[in-house]
Subunit: 117 residues, 2 copies
């Protein structure tokens, strides 16, 4: 659970497992882990677990970091991404995290400036 | 243990606990967690645990991310920072992670361009 809500920074240890809510307050999923671009040190994606039950059948969806905003009151992330949008995102390729084409389509899809430029 | 050594990305889950070695191969410490700048999504610091025994008396030292280079063969990070250098770094203030002055001195000390510019 993030404890540094008033800070400019958040610990990676606090991010894993943090809940994600939509604009309407509906629970969408939770962050499983972050993917970090080694070279630049940018968080490329927050990988959100979504669907399933008690972790069974849960799918993982990489979300651009700047679509998530930490809400101190909720102790979770708020996003303007909807569950439908997550499900409609470009399907992950096997090597999505080294597939610039997939990355480009994903950032395009979410309407976010790429982390790699 | 990082599994994505050949990728451009590394998972936050793999970074926590990863060992850090000096240029001479000597073990320096291990990464406890990352501190992420919320706004930019940059990894601001890798917080390294150092000294102590079995976690007792271990001190935490924030290191600029780009001083760490992942070595697939070692399955750990290699850095040109020395143990002496770590111990001589600007002492952490209580609110170091929102203290731009401390941050500036630390990035200066390690000779790395600040993540916030």
């Amino acid at each position: 659970m993030p404890t540094s809500g008033t800070s400019n920074m958040v610990s990676s240890a606090d991010v894993n497992g943090t809940e994600v809510y939509g604009r309407d307050g509906v629970h969408i999923g939770s962050i499983d882990h972050l993917m970090i671009d080694k070279q630049s040190g940018n968080v490329a994606y927050a990988v959100m677990g979504f669907g399933g039950f008690l972790g069974l059948g849960e799918e993982h969806y990489p979300i651009p970091w700047n679509k998530l905003h930490y809400d101190t009151a909720k102790q979770g992330f708020v996003t303007d991404i909807t569950a439908d949008q997550v499900e409609g995102a470009p399907a992950r390729t096997d090597d999505w995290h080294r597939d610039r084409d997939w990355e480009r389509r994903t950032y395009d899809y979410y309407g976010v400036a790429p982390y790699w430029i």
